[in-house]
Subunit: 505 residues, 2 copies
């Protein structure tokens, strides 16, 4: 059923003028309040072509301080299209206290994709589910989302397009797609309606804007923004519910039950390392050819041997096709955004490999234990992380997560060695010693993390690293196996597609 | 796609025992906190037959103070089924500070209806939309909803039913429907999944309960309730967003533009009154026969003549088929619930007429102006009321709303007359005079109310009542016209159904 809104009567020109003057002033005051209260705001301008989204946006921002907002037009680059669906949107979320305006948003991508047939019904439904989660995650983290849908009637749209076409100077502004939209107004409206209804969530409701008159349109937008900002400011400090995990989990052992006596001889190590690196190298080419991305996440105790392990994996890869991201504590501009933002921005392209030396799991380990976030924040994070990784998996990425495990004595030996070896001293800090004192609380947190985030699509693998050589060989084997399985799956799919086609002939 | 939850490993018997003891105590402490903080809580126990919902509920409440909770089994009476879908649920919401437990909830009605074919796909979708609004309204008003879905596997269900059937003393507990559910487990699961997904709202998320073990089941429920209550207590005072009206509106004049010079001669009044009352009387029978309910709402200025007007309408009706509800300020037990609760509880049955002398519009008039509710409360109310009336209309009710209009001078004349006529003095109070002083603010509120709630399915009608006779005749005419139109519509539908059937032959 197509949406139906009967708008308020348009006030007189005088009234609009007066209210607009007042509202603009009020909105610019709100901008300062946002800044003070560190409230991040996202404003979506969606709706019909020729409804005037762009020109209204231009007028709205005229009265705002340009240091505290950014505007984005929905036009993804080739680079962006090679990343997961939400990537191009997630990377554009504002810092706390600032506004991101989107002239055309994720709605456009999804409804267009559906209308042109680029998205199947199933993919379309998955996109909607992704968007619902995305918007909920932002809201949970304190973001204010204001979503405007600019409405004009079929005849008004036709009239506007005709006017633009009739003048040489504006003719270029009407694209073939625009004309198509007007021609199929009824059908497009149905698709819009379905999307609007499905994404009209409590955490981010839609506001329909009567776009028949430009100034009135601006007034509705500015007045609504003021109300939304005031409501959000009143709700600061709201606690989001911790959602239950509904992702399929793999059963994992507790760290205490992991046997650490596994070793490998020097000879076997050297032979296997060569063999496995060669194999991984071959596979990397194949991944590149098939556009399959790989994300490898490393977590583990200090001095467990993450660095050396990563080095052996990376050594097998073509440097043009991979990147290692060492993750330290977040920079101020990262801290001012959703905790997953700095990982979204570091995602690999299709066919590329990203290796993370420490990861998004900091939230449920160091941030939890050091009180860098609230209890509600880290408790919510298990589900947020599973949602994040499921986006990666749905995109087609192979997600591999390593926990590099050693026992407490081994850590002490390695710390002492570092302390006593001048060229290794840079590797050991007071913080390492302090963290060591908290071993037991960390172990509780790590066990909970592994239990709650070992999903079937992104399981944890424990690398027994008292013998670092053993851990390196195991890491390579896990990676190779995961890639080989995916390639085999991929082959199977292609085959069944082919034979399916044959069958039809 | 069917839901998929892999639950945590069941803890040892000892651990469950210890945690349960602690959790029961904690929950009973929470009950006192609810009371202190005036937080109303609704807990739904939904899920598979034989999953143990009832027995777990029995155990959960054992440790609670019975003064502060009520339990309901989903089993509507005949009386309740003759009212709108949400009626039987809305009337059972708790007072602030208390808990309502539902052993089987609105989910059961909807999924069962869909599975048995009693609900068409379209009706099913409408029910879901109603439930989404209902749950959002409760949340907006500060209610905490905790929704549990009790999961057991197909084989476990089968086993349990067999065990019950095998013993003479428990045989009766397995119904034919229960067995059917197990037989069609896969299909039922798909329907459940669709419902669970559609109603898994941010304001009221679902929690799946692993019901393979009774004590573990209880522990999950009690621990989750504690977390949910704590979160809700932290969020007290949250401001809900004011949603935009998306119901189709009818354009109405401002009160100042209503001409009040309309009159009727005494003779015409007397003839018309007789004629119209006779006609209404006939129509009342027809409504009764066709099970069509009518709701007539009266609002208007003090001394505008509401009482006399209602009397002339009621005089035409069969006393067995109508009720007049005079609405004063809410009683404490009404005030302690959602503001629409006291109107839901007063709805007529199918085929009956309810006349409200003052209504649910108090929220946006007296409560707004006297500060009896917050600004956010009354601003939200326009949409809440439109949603309420749309439920009535979807149910099939004719909803007629009268604003009885007089001018300020006429009110003064009538007040003075009342003051000076001993037998009318009870009709005039100091409050009436105080309200009169606020005429202008009331006029602003009434205009906004009429503008925002004159929907196509429940429009306002203004009764010009400086001449009370004129207003009474107009009221009767409006009512008769609305009923006649509905009956004609009804006839048309029946006819097209019939001819549709003929066509098929």
């Amino acid at each position: 059923m197509a949406y139906d809104v009967i708008f308020d009567e348009i006030p007189s020109k005088e009234e609009i003028g007066e209210r607009l003057e007042k509202a603009r002033l009020e909105l610019s005051k709100r901008q300062m309040l946002l800044k003070e209260n560190k409230l991040p705001v996202i404003v979506l301008f969606d709706g019909w072509d020729a409804a005037g989204k762009g020109s209204v946006l231009g007028r709205v921002i005229k009265n705002l301080d340009p240091r505290f907002f950014k505007t984005y037009t929905y036009k993804p680059t080739e680079e962006e299209l090679r990343r997961p669906f939400l990537y191009k949107h997630f990377i554009r979320i504002p810092e706390a206290g600032k506004i991101s305006f989107f002239d055309g948003s994720w709605m456009e991508e999804v409804t267009d994709g559906y209308l042109t047939g680029a998205l199947s019904k199933k993919d379309y439904k998955n996109r909607i589910a992704s968007i619902q989660k995305f918007e909920r995650q932002l809201n949970d983290d304190g973001y204010l989302l204001i979503k405007f849908f600019f409405h004009i009637s079929e005849s008004e749209q036709k009239k506007r397009m005709k006017e633009l076409l009739d003048s040489k100077s504006t003719k270029w502004r009407v694209s073939k797609e625009d004309l198509e939209q007007n021609k199929n107004y009824g059908k497009v409206k149905e698709v819009f309606s379905e999307y609007l209804e499905a994404t009209n969530q409590f955490v981010a409701p839609w506001y329909y804007i009567d776009s028949s008159n430009r100034k009135w349109c601006e007034l509705q937008v500015v007045e609504r923004m003021i109300v939304c900002i005031d409501t959000a400011l009143k709700n600061k400090g709201r606690v989001a519910p911790v959602l239950q995990n509904t992702f399929p989990l793999v059963k994992m052992p507790k760290l205490a039950d992991v046997k650490l006596d596994k070793t490998i001889t020097d000879e076997e190590y050297s032979v296997e390392l060569d063999r496995l690196q060669d194999r991984l190298s071959e596979l990397h080419n194949e991944l590149y050819r098939r556009h399959i991305p790989v994300i490898i996440a490393y977590e583990g105790w200090d001095a467990a041997g993450k660095g050396g392990n990563i080095k052996r994996v990376a050594a097998a890869l073509d440097p043009r096709g991979y990147e290692v991201h060492p993750i330290a504590s977040p920079e101020p501009h990262e801290k001012a955004r959703h905790h997953l933002w700095r990982f979204w921005t570091r995602l690999p392209k299709e066919g590329h490999i990203a290796i993370f030396d420490r990861t998004w799991y900091g939230r449920v380990m160091v941030e939890r234990l050091e009180g860098f976030c609230s209890e509600n924040d880290w408790q919510r994070a298990y589900n947020e992380i599973n949602e994040f990784e499921s986006e990666l998996a749905d995109w087609g990425a192979i997600v591999i997560k390593f926990w590099v495990q050693i026992d407490k004595d081994t850590q002490l030996a390695r710390f002492t060695d570092r302390q006593n070896t001048p060229e290794k001293q840079w590797k050991i800090t007071d913080e390492d010693w302090r963290n060591r004192e908290k071993w037991d609380s960390y172990e509780v947190a790590v066990n909970e993390m592994i239990e709650k985030t070992s999903t079937t699509f992104a399981p944890w693998h424990i690398l027994e690293s008292d013998d670092k050589h053993y851990a390196r060989i195991k890491a390579l084997r896990v990676i190779i196996k995961a890639i080989e399985e995916r390639l085999a799956e991929d082959d199977k799919k292609k085959k069944s597609k082919k034979s399916g086609k044959k069958g039809k002939k």
